[in-house]
Structures are given as C-alpha cells and as structure tokens.
Symmetry: C2
Subunit: 366 residues, 2 copies
C-alpha cells in the first residue's frame, strides 16, 4: 500500500491522495462525539462486560483525557481486562503534539465528564434487542447539523471521532437495517470478535422492531431509533452540517460504515467531501472488513495511520499489535491530522514516543 | 468622538485604535454566554418583572434566535412590555451578514434552548439577597478556561456576549464586593433605571453573606458565589482561557465591569489582550457610566458601535433611541466585529436594513 507521510492510502487510492492534498497546510479541528448505550451491557458485547456499569464511564473518561490530559470521573485511564489502554491515549498524544483544538460533543451520556461539553439534547441509548434504541434522533441530527455549520467556519477541515462502548454492535444493527451486508465484517475490541453474539443481538432488535434486512434503507432516522446508538445522530449531523463547506475526516473503524450510510441517505451531495481515517490495525484485521463495508455504501477513500507499536518498551502498547483494541476515540484520524498538519515531521516514531511518555505518566505511575 | 468605520473609540482612544488594527482582516468567533438567576424575579429588577418566570425563557430564546434565526422555546421573539425587541435581533443580524460562526455557552439555565449548547456544569443562580448566588464557581471557571484555550486555536479573535436577565444587579453586587464603586453607574433595561432598588438588593446580599464594600477585592470566586450570577464564571473563564492567545472583545454594557474585575483578579496578564465592545446607546446613557466603572478597574479600551435607529421605519426599533434597552446578547460587539470583518462595507445603515428585514419577518408577521 502506498503511503504519504506515515498515512496509508488504504482504499480508493486516487481519491485518498487527493483528500490528503486538500488538507495539506490547513488547520484542523478535532471533534469527539460521545454516547453510552445499554446495548454495551449485554454480556460479551463490550470489553467492559465483566463490569457492565463501567461502560458508562469510558466515554467521559476518554473525553477528559483529550481535554485535560487526565481522567477525572474515574481515577485511572480506561484499560481493557487484558491491560490495553484506551486508544484515547493515542488521540490525546496526537492532538497535543500537533496543537489541534478539540471539542467534545455529547449524543447522550449517563455519566457526564468534568469538561466543557457540547450538548445536543440527546439521551443515553437503550438495549437494541428491545427495538427501541435512541430517542429524538431527528432533533439531535438537526442540532448537530447547526453545530457543524458553525464549526465549519472555524476550521479548514474537521476530524470527527467517537467513543461509545458497544458501538460496533449498534453499527451492525443500522447497517443491516439499511441493507448493507456487514455480517462478519464488523470490528471488535473483544478477543475473538464475537460475530455470532452481535448478529443474534441485532436479529433480536430487528424482530422486536418489526424490521428486516434492508427494510429501513430509505429511513436512517428509524434505523438509528430502532437499532443504533446515540453517538450516531450526533456524528452524522455534524458531518451533514460541516461537509457542505469543508472536508471532513470521519475518524473510526467499521462504525464509520453506519454513520456513512446515514449521511448518504440524508444528503449524498456531501460524500465528495468525506474520507474515513483509521489505523493500520483496522486495515490489517482479519476478523473484520472495513473496505468491504464502505465499498457497499459510497465511493469514499480510506486513509490509515501507519501506527506500529511492536517495538514499544511497554507491553500495554505492544498489545495493540495483537489487533484486539485497534481503533477508537478517533485515534487513527487524529494521528493522520497530526502527521498532515506537521507536513510529515510528526512520524509514527515521534508519535509513539509521545504516546509512551503519556502512557508512562498516566497508566503506570510508579 | 473619533470613529473607525462606524465604531467609536469611546474610551482609551490610542488603545482602542490599536485594538481595531489587531482585528483588521482577521476571523472572529462569536460566543454567547447564558445564565438565569432568581435575582431577576425580584419585582422591579428586570423588564420581565411583571411575569417573573418569563426571565427563564429570555436567554434560551435569545440563543435560538442567534443560531436558528428564530425562537423555539417560546413562540415569539422576546420583547419588553414597551414593545422593544431583544437586542439579540441586532446580534443575529450582524452575525448573519458578516457570516460569523457562533457558539452558545451555558453558565447555568433553568430552561434549555433547542440548539447545540456548550455546557460547563453550572446551575441557575439564586437570589443574591440570600448571599448564596452561584454554585461551583471555581469549577465552571476552570471548564470555561479549557473551552477558551481550545476556541482560541479556532479563531483569530473572540467576541463574547451574554444574556442574563437581572444581570446588572448581580454585576453591581460583584463590583461593590470587590471594592469598585459602581453605585449609580450601572445600566438598566428598565425605564427610569431603579438604582435604589438595585443598591438595596446588593446591600441585603452583602449583609446575608457577612461581607461589605471591598471585602472580596482579592476573592472573585467568593464575590460571584455570594453576589454574582452564573453567566459570570462562564464568561470570565472563557476570557482567561482565550486571551492568553488571541484578542478578546468583551461584548456588553456595564456588566462587563464585573467580568473584567474578576478576570483581572485571576490573571492580570491577559488585560492587554482585551477591549470592551458596546453600543453608542450605552455610551450616551446619562443614567449609567460604563467608562467610570472601567476606569476604576483596568486600562482597557472601549469600542462602541455607532448604531442609530432614529430613522427606522419601525417604532419598536426607533425605541432604542429612548435609551431604555441599550445593549445585550453582545449586540454592540457583534456589530463591531461585523463592521471590522467587512472592512467597513457593513455600515450602520446596511446593518439597520438587515435588522429591519429580520424585525419585519420575526417580530411583526402580518
């Protein structure tokens, strides 16, 4: 795969290259959209499954890490049971060394972070097995669109990331309801990627809401309302508002497929101003297929930060190479923006050094 | 008084001119800070006094007007009992014709607007006569500072306005507690400017909190906590965070004195990056004395938009010339930013035309 700086042109190469050209020398704004959902508390769905209530704390803790450089709502940085630190550590390190301004947006949270938080009037999400997942989807999209329109006047381009435990399952729900065959293609932060459990969960949701594969292809609002999560209307609305004016890098893994499908159904004119920004770990993952999802939706390029932690001095970071935790909190997109903004002087090596510095300071204070 | 474009150099002329030079050709961001307080419900304190609960709706309605071009939480644009429309109409018109991005921040609101709202964790304010006016002042200032630091990376300068009914009384409270003699100098949107009622209200608050004139000169957090309002920590924190990096135009009338005193006490280094932006009506008002307040605090310039509605075809707008409603929702600062951003092609005449167009559409649909 060809690289520009340490960014792979991972899919749709000519468009990927053109997108990077558009961002060169420009000023980004990073926006992190948060949400929590009861779906994450289904046993086996999320890495925080052993202690389901903990999933309510991960997004606010991630956001605090981005804005404050430390967590406040919990005493430590979120870490999986295997000892892998939240990808917010990558995001935070990239934003810091590249001096990228950051805004945190809530789509619906049970626990509020101790930071300035752009509220869109949304509520935490329900269990999709009941077929009633998200309230006020249309209103949240509308408010997010207003925010996106205004933010687009403050930056040359916008990078949007997300933090929502259980988000790949709800992404599968929206994708299937909208007729995109994402079975077996969705990523996971769980060892072994429990595709079957996710598919069963979504099937229960489809049954409960009286829908089936593809029946909501033309109705993204209902698809989110029944089978999605509260991050989605916030993220999609921001894209819809901003991308009419400036390029938007949608920073995430396979969840970006669901957001992209929603955006396309609501205004396909903005697709030309979009790219997906992710990590090498997502592209290299054999248990999921981001390109196979995006190819079914739109002719949008994928960029992937060439992050390589195999030589890190910390086992917790080397664990990223086992492709369990692979992406999240816009880690790939933030790294890409940092590399492009610095004109390539921020490399995967300098970024890893910064990440190690922050890891040492935050995760293992001795 | 000398003018640059249609902006008076109303105080501290050389610094006022230098400040305008700094903003020339630059990109502003407009931030509107909101709050509500029980103090506004004291009979005679606010123009909405006849129906005290209505004061809870004015800030959210103002903010909706700025972002959506119409109000949603109430069916009409806020208008005083005399038929004078909210100055948010001026602000909205200026932001619109100059295409200035806008962000709305809550310091503490009883009624939430139907828009994206940057929440700082603050609560609505209490009646200052009880000497317990605002909760979590330090925490809100800290969150606002974080927001200001990030916003300063997205714009060349920041214009901050406010909407809080009863705000001039709480401003008097903070000013007196901090030892600035603002008696008889504070503005009002009430016909006849009830200085005596305001002074009595503040005296009751000083008694209840065990403080006296000047006793909190070194403790702005306590001054706000006991005698202020929830807009103040949001506004002051934003200034503190942003003005270390970019110029900040503090858009308002005599209330800006209280915010400036707080900012100065917390970090006087930022004073060089500040100006007050207001309207000609505030400068011309014989019942208040903005310059006399600011002169006691800091060597900060005052700019005043030369708004003149005397020839408006609408009585509701001509009423601004009676100097009852004179400022609010950052009207003066937004007008100044629009004039400077346009290099003078937006004049008081073009702005009035836009205001009349919006007035006709929104206030008197026939």
């Amino acid at each position: 795969m060809r690289k520009i700086y340490d960014v792979f042109l991972a899919y749709n190469e000519p468009k990927a290259e053109a997108f990077i050209e558009k961002l060169r020398g420009k000023r980004p704004l990073f926006v992190c959209t948060l949400g929590t959902t009861e779906t994450a508390k289904i046993p086996g769905i999320s890495v925080a499954g052993k202690n389901p209530e903990f999933t309510d704390y991960t997004p606010p803790a991630d956001a605090e890490l981005l804005l404050l450089g430390k967590c406040k709502c919990i005493p430590v940085v979120p870490v999986t049971p295997e000892g892998i630190p939240t990808p917010a550590l990558i995001t935070m390190s990239a934003l810091k060394i590249a001096d990228i301004p950051t805004l945190v947006v809530s789509g619906g949270l049970r626990v509020k972070p101790h930071i300035p938080l752009l509220d869109l009037g949304g509520n935490p999400g329900g269990d999709i097995r009941k077929g009633r997942a998200v309230e006020s989807v249309g209103e949240v999209i509308q408010r997010a669109r207003t925010a996106g329109e205004n933010l687009a006047k403050t930056a040359d381009y916008i990078v949007i990331g997300e933090s929502i435990p259980g988000g790949t399952t709800t992404a599968l729900g929206v994708l299937l309801a909208m007729g995109i065959d994402a079975r077996g293609k969705i990523s996971s932060s769980m060892p072994g990627n429990p595709h079957e459990l996710k598919t069963e969960t979504v099937k229960a949701g489809l049954r409960a809401s009286g829908e089936e594969f593809g029946s909501l292809a033309e109705d993204p609002i209902k698809a989110i309302s029944y089978l999605g999560d509260p991050m989605m209307p916030a993220f999609a609305g921001l894209v819809l508002g901003a991308a009419t004016k400036v390029p938007v890098l949608m920073a995430g893994g396979t969840q970006m497929g669901a957001v992209l499908a929603v955006v396309k159904a609501l205004n396909w004119h903005v697709l030309d101003n979009l790219a997906i920004g992710t990590t090498r770990w997502i592209i290299a993952d054999k248990t999921s297929d981001l390109r196979g999802i995006i190819a079914q939706i739109a002719d949008v390029p994928i960029l992937a930060a060439d992050l390589d932690f195999s030589r890190s001095k910390f086992a917790g970071l080397r664990a990223y190479e086992e492709k369990v935790v692979k992406e999240g909190v816009g880690a790939g997109g933030a790294a890409i923006a940092a590399m492009i903004k610095s004109g390539g002087s921020i490399t995967r090596e300098t970024l890893l050094k910064e990440i190690e510095r922050n890891y040492e300071h935050l995760v293992r204070p001795e």
